[in-house]
């Protein structure tokens, strides 16, 4: 069994934003040389998410509105986490819980085994800084 590990570094401009990281993950799969296996892609930061959905701008904006409705950023003082730590990112922890930490994709014939509309996204809820995503692939 082979294993492969890499980090993808991203910096989202602004507090919240979303980046399509599918081509970076594709590069990892190619570099790994693994033909049959599983590929884990996870955020290494607890205020961001990795998830799979359609690459469509309206959907991404709607998702952001929906998350802001469920876990609003303001009022910052509303959250115990913010009072306790002096930070202002409690909403980011909650939003990331809804969107998930990771995704796992099958690798078949040396490629990510995707459905027609599936793309991998990194959603940062506390951006303006460098953060990283872990890619771990195991197989043969």
């Amino acid at each position: 069994m082979k294993s492969y590990r890499n980090e993808i570094w991203v910096e989202v401009p602004g507090r919240r934003g979303l980046i399509n990281i599918t081509s970076e993950v594709n590069d990892c799969v190619r570099e790994s040389g693994i033909k049959e296996g599983l590929c884990l892609v996870n955020a290494m930061n607890i205020t961001s998410s990795v998830f799979i959905n359609d690459d469509e701008r309206g959907l991404h904006e709607d998702m952001d509105d929906w998350l802001e409705g469920l876990a609003p950023h303001e009022p910052v003082s509303h959250y115990r986490h913010n009072k306790g730590t002096g930070e202002d990112n409690a909403d980011a922890h909650l939003k990331r819980s809804l969107m998930g930490r990771e995704t796992t994709i099958a690798i078949t014939d040396g490629r990510l085994d995707f459905g027609t509309w599936e793309q991998i996204f990194y959603f940062d809820f506390d951006g303006n800084r460098r953060k990283h995503v872990l890619v771990k692939i195991i197989g043969e």
Partner: protein
Amino acid sequence: MKSYRKDLWYVYPERQGVLNITKDIQECLKSSGIQEGICLINTMNVTAGVYTNSDEDPMHKSFLEWLEKLAPHNPDATTGSGETEVSFLDTHLKRTVIGREVMVAVTKGELELGTWEQILYFEFDGKRRKRVLVKIIGE
């Protein structure tokens, strides 16, 4: 290392609802001959989810009611960019809450599930053929 792959196709007869696909996954595992490993089960469609929970009809209905509160189906709403097909928006959001995939341990040739754990497919935009991928790796 062995690997196994299979597409499972489902048509849910209504717009939204739950199918128990545990038996189909168990059959895949038997065909694979894998005794120790990991089994990934994911939807290949962005408007459905795969998750594990108890297979209990009243609870599926409660899930649906809860999801409907979190992400209501509103065919008359307008979106920020106007690009999204609005009638599908709730399905993408509901699927996000339920999740795209599960990974189940394979031990001694069996899916290692908790007492009440069943593998469920949650359809949010049904009445058409959709696909679930099963990928098993191990020995």
